[in-house]
């Protein structure tokens, strides 16, 4: 083992580990808070800001003026997506934010109907 007296050890990991930021909560269920779920601050959120952890406050600041997707929140806070999802779940539980499920993918139209329409159009306009 090296015996240099003043070989300083520098701690490079984050001072506050992620599991403290999430306060040991577990991940919300798989389908909740997907990448594209939109979140926004609820109306009375601004009054509780002082009691929040810095991370929750940062998230709240981000979504204060409108809807932002979960993925965007994660990118802005530079926190792992899962950590952000845990935070969001906790914040929604305490009524600080509202989450809006992603707009469902454009309704699946029946392919056959479309084909029939196309065929009809072709027949009509002779394309």
């Amino acid at each position: 083992m090296s015996d240099e007296p003043d070989e300083d050890l520098e701690l490079t990991s984050a001072l506050v580990p992620f599991f403290v930021i999430t306060n040991g909560r577990s991940l919300p269920p798989e389908h909740a808070y997907g990448h594209t779920t939109l979140v926004s601050a609820s109306e009375h959120a601004a009054t509780t800001v002082r009691t929040l952890t810095p991370e929750a406050r940062q998230v709240l600041d981000l979504v204060m003026d409108g809807f932002l997707s979960v993925a965007e929140v994660a990118a802005h806070t530079r926190l792992p997506l899962g950590v952000v999802r845990i935070l969001l779940a906790e914040m929604e539980e305490s009524g600080l934010i509202i989450a809006r499920k992603p707009v469902p993918r454009a309704e699946r139209v029946d392919r056959e109907v479309l084909n029939a329409v196309l065929d009809g159009l072709r027949a009509r306009f002779g394309a």
Binding site: M1, D3, D6, D8, L9, E10, L11, T12, S13, A14, L15, V16, P17, F18, F19, V20, T22, N23, G24, S26, L27, E30, H35, R50, P54, Q58, D61, L62, D65, G66, L68, A71, E72, A74, A75, H76, R78, L79, P80, L81, G82, V83, R105, A106, R108, R111, L118, L121, A127
Partner: protein, 395 residues
């Protein structure tokens, strides 16, 4: 005649009596002289014996001190060599734990979107506890503490400490402060607070809260830790104070089978870095109130900027980086404007060159064009060999 005879008799008797008296007094004198002589001899022997005894006593004392000194020296040598051996291993563990923490953080970022993150967070917790133990042993052996290069808010330092104990969810930080600890104080204060929190957690009931508050008292900043435990009796309190002030430094060998590092480590740290810790107070729950008193050299009043990480943003899978040309708000958020023009995903060949469609244009032609666009869209959609990610599940 008879009278003469009587007188003679008396004379003889008197003479005999005188002679006897003389003889007796002589003997008495001789006895007294003898006695004096023997007494003098005895006293002399006694004083000689006393002298010998004194020298023997002195010798014994000398031997005893020599013996004690030798034992102490031997103990110190043993302590030093134990420390030296342990120090090496402790530093190894210490750097390994630090490395693991950094590595784990990277992994947690990498798999941030994966469900494995939940488990990784738990590994992180176990790791943080191990790192604390390694740091504690290192401090006991006189090795330097791992240092931090950046100042941090006291709040974050306490949260860092919180993460280093088992039941960290019991810890509630009741308020936030604008006070920041200087970089050099971050590690030692975090470790000291972690040891205090661990102590608070171990000596109070499961599930009872441990509250942390901050107070500024004159030129000192106090971190106050209240538990709802059973408190300490006077003897324990005295012992704790001696350990915490560094007055009493137990040897490694005195720490016992299940070594209690906490207070000795805090004692060493506080002496080394110039803060004070007191556990003699009584908390509002009747448990122990521990106070870490930080003199003004260790902290500043400046509000720390919200940690702006210097490291580049790690690109997360599935999150495309947005082009920087997007208008941004003061917070750096993309500004979402109301859409003014409908977005055509398929460029209209007729209008590509034209700046805009004039309003006077024939409505029928416009309708025809949009139908044409529809058709082109369908065709181009079918011709795409690799379907775009959105809506790609059919075909």
């Amino acid at each position: 005649m008879i009278r003469d005879a009587l007188v003679w008799c008396l004379v003889v008797v008197a003479a005999l009596g005188v002679a006897a008296a003389v003889v007796l007094s002589r003997r008495a004198k001789a006895i007294a002289v003898n006695k004096d002589r023997s007494e003098a001899a005895l006293t002399q022997r006694l004083s000689e014996a006393d002298g010998r005894l004194a020298t023997l006593r002195a010798e014994l004392h000398q031997h005893r001190t020599d013996h004690a000194k030798t034992i102490q020296e031997a103990e110190e040598a043993a302590e030093d060599s134990t420390k030296a051996v342990l120090k090496g291993s402790a530093r190894f563990l210490q750097s390994l734990a630090a490395e693991q923490l950094a590595l784990l953080e990277e992994i947690q970022r990498k798999y941030g979107g994966h469900s494995v993150l939940g488990d990784l967070l738990e590994v992180g917790h176990a790791n943080a506890q191990m790192a604390r133990k390694a740091q504690g042993i290192a401090v006991m052996c006189g090795a330097p503490l791992g240092r931090r290069s950046r100042a941090a808010s006291v709040y974050d330092v306490v949260r860092s400490a919180q993460g280093q104990i088992r039941n960290f969810r019991r810890v509630e930080i009741m308020q936030q402060t604008g006070f920041a600890l200087k970089a050099s104080a971050v590690s030692p204060v975090a470790l000291a607070v972690a040891e205090l929190l661990d102590n608070a957690a171990s000596f109070s009931q499961q599930g009872s809260p441990i509250e942390v508050t901050f107070q500024r008292v004159q030129k000192n900043l106090c971190i106050v830790i209240d538990d709802a435990g059973v408190g300490m009796n006077d003897e324990e309190r005295q012992k704790a104070s001696a350990l915490l002030s560094g007055q009493y430094r137990p040897r490694l060998s005195q720490l016992g089978n299940q070594p209690k590092f906490g207070f000795p480590v805090i004692g060493l740290l506080s002496q080394q870095y110039g803060f004070r810790v007191d556990v003699t107070g009584v908390s509002r729950y009747g448990g122990v109130r521990a106070v870490v008193l930080l003199p003004e050299e260790l902290w500043t009043e400046e509000e720390t900027a919200p940690v702006e990480e210097v490291q580049p943003v790690i690109e997360q899978p599935g999150i495309p980086t947005r082009p920087e040309s997007v208008a941004r708000t003061a917070n750096g958020l993309p500004r979402r404007g109301a859409r003014q023009v409908p977005i055509a995903s398929v460029p209209d060949q007729d209008t590509v060159g034209l700046p805009h469609v004039t309003a006077t244009e024939d409505a029928g032609r416009a309708a025809g064009r949009s139908l044409g666009a529809f058709q082109r869209g369908t065709l181009s959609g079918r011709n795409l060999s690799a379907a775009p990610s959105e809506g790609s599940d059919d075909t």
